[in-house]
Amino acid sequence: MHKMKPLIIAGKEFNSRLFTGTGKFSSNKLMGEAILASCSELVTVALKRVNLNNDTDDMLVHLQQPNINLLPNTSGVRNAKEAVFAAKLAREALGTNWVKLEIHPDPKYLLADGEETLAATTILAKEGFIVLPYIQADPVLCKKLEEAGAAAVMPLGSPIGSNQGLQTRDFLRIIIEQSNIPVIIDAGLGAPSHAAEAMEMGADAVLINTAIAIANNPVNMAIAFKMSVEAGRLAFEARLAPSAHFAQASSPLTSFLNEL
């Protein structure tokens, strides 16, 4: 049986390279079923949506599974100060020091503020948080985040929720090539083929929400993404043959040597 290499983030091992989100599902029950079917082991939860004063928050109830780790996100915050506060609140309420930083002052396209994200990462990493920042596919910013102590980087494939696939692929390639920490392609992946492409390129994991949540059959779509992520990763590990536009003679420039 072929097996992917496990992914390690901040010393923690993951057997699935598909991370999932919890928003947009037509019911919390269906969300739980889809996530279970995806075999995802890291699941993001928007702190703003969780009822922190209520132990029986309906969304959290459906995520109580042995292999599911929660990754609280700071969605909705607009600056580093709010993000740091949110991370601390999440640690207290959900008992985890993992946090996905989402700092988007622009509520229309939900694009990350690199400056504030770097500032928040610096503070939180120093305080012992496992920080996974969501950011533009900006190679320099990714290196700075690595230096600041991020546990992984989460560049976007295309605008969040857009289902447009890897529009930023040229920059993602550079990020993947240069990174010493895991690269998780976070947003805009709308089809299993997009996820497979990201994995083939060498991404360490992908995060999918909208494409699964609003599918007609989220459970089957979750399985489809699971399979595509595994296929893409296995292909990457098995080293894809390079592609070419033209048929190549085996040695067009040097075959004359045989004729001498």
Binding site: G23, K24, F25, S26, S27, N28, L47, K48, R49, V50, N51, L52, T74, G76, V77, R78, N79, K81, E82, F85, A86, L89, P105, D106, P107, K108, Y109, G161, N163, T210, A213, I214
Partner: protein, 372 residues
């Protein structure tokens, strides 16, 4: 520059003619494009678009699901005061109406909060008339402090305030402010708003700019359907949002199109806005702007609301009372307008689930907010 300056560049009648002269071809083009302009929006709200309603509804559903998922947010209005110094001729709170006037005291507000919390709400909308001495900024500040421990999201639908007022209330934790223009028709605006602070149309047109300036997270806009040509008024609403989104890019926007309801004093709507019209408008808004939140209140009848759940709206109220003290005491004589959908939040929840959608009770946490 504020929206007042933009508004002045447009002539109501010219816009109206332009909307009414849109053709089937314009509608087809608007529907086929990936991004729509204001001219496309005109086509989508024009009479020429009515044969395309089914197609528009399908597109609206698809776009809304992509952005918001299969979810509907629930909120509830808490009427704090019906005291008002304005005389808007269509409103149940107008000062000439001889109804009893009430501004809830802290004890009464807490009684209301108790009932609202028991219904499951985390998101409350505070509503007042305009009476600076009775329900102005000081009063609102006091009430927000009082109820803050009970809600994760507090919004306001109160008279326009100045910058200082908004700054103060944002610092107290206000998340969203809704200020409806009622009509963008500058010739007719004074007819509806003859006296009081609200008669100053420019001040109202500039309100959303003040809110953007003071960093309010969400601003709600809209016009009152039934006063003037709904197509022209909704064009100006779209123009307003378009301008605001570019200028106040950190702010989230919400839109609502309340249709006029009977009230004490019984003002009859000037123009009829049919169910089909309202559906067309909501779908057009969604197709034009994929990110704007769209609210539908209990003014609308149950069957209409049930069907709209999947067609472009993102938020609904449920179990609403439109009179101060209405939740704990229920005295209908003070109400601003009659609601049409009197189902309880639990019933609305069941309906939403039955439609295959999940209810979002909480979408923000006041404690996450820092002052800017």
């Amino acid at each position: 520059m504020t929206f007042f300056d933009i508004h002045q560049q447009y002539n109501w009648d010219t816009v109206k003619v332009s909307i009414h002269s849109k053709t089937v071809k314009d509608v087809e083009d608007a529907l086929a494009k990936p991004n729509r302009t204001l001219e496309d929006f005109k086509a989508l709200i024009s009479p020429a678009a009515s044969p395309f309603l089914e197609q528009m509804a399908q597109k609206s559903q698809e776009i809304t699901q992509k952005r918001f998922g299969k979810t509907i947010q629930l909120y509830v209005p808490l009427y704090l005061s019906n005291e008002c110094t304005n005389s808007c001729i269509y409103c149940g709170f107008r000062c000439e109406n001889e109804t009893a006037r009430v501004t809830l005291n802290e004890h009464q507000v807490l009684k209301e909060v108790e009932v609202i919390k028991a219904m499951g709400y985390e998101n409350v909308l505070l509503v007042t008339g305009e009476h600076p001495k009775k329900n102005g900024c000081d009063y609102l500040q006091k009430i927000i402090r009082l109820i803050k421990p009970h809600f994760s999201q507090i919004s306001l639908e109160v008279a326009p305030l100045d910058n200082e007022g908004y700054k103060l209330l944002v610092n107290e934790g206000v998340h969203a402010v809704y200020v409806y223009q009622e009509t963008y028709n500058s010739e007719r605006y004074p007819v509806y708003h003859p006296r009081g602070k609200k008669s100053n149309m420019q001040y109202r047109l500039e309100t959303a700019d003040r809110l953007g300036e003071e960093g309010v997270r969400k601003v709600g806009l809209g016009c009152l359907l039934g006063l003037e040509d709904w197509r022209t008024d909704s064009f100006f609403t779209a123009l307003h949002i378009n301008y605001l989104e570019k200028k106040w890019w950190r702010t989230k926007f919400s839109i609502s199109f309340p249709r006029m309801r009977p009230f004490a004093g019984s003002y009859k709507p000037n123009v009829e806005v049919t169910d089909q019209d309202l559906l067309q408008l909501i779908c057009a808004c969604r197709i034009f702007n994929e990110e704007v939140e769209v609210t539908l209140s209990t003014r609308e009848q149950p069957k209409f609301r049930d069907n709209l759940v999947k067609l472009g709206i993102t938020a609904m109220s449920a179990g609403s009372k439109t009179e101060p003290g209405g939740y704990a005491e229920n005295s209908k004589e003070l109400e601003q307008f009659k609601i049409t959908d009197d189902r309880s939040p639990k019933e609305i929840c069941e309906m939403i689930n039955y439609k295959g959608y999940e209810v979002v009770w909480k979408d923000w946490d006041e404690c996450l907010q820092t002052n800017i």
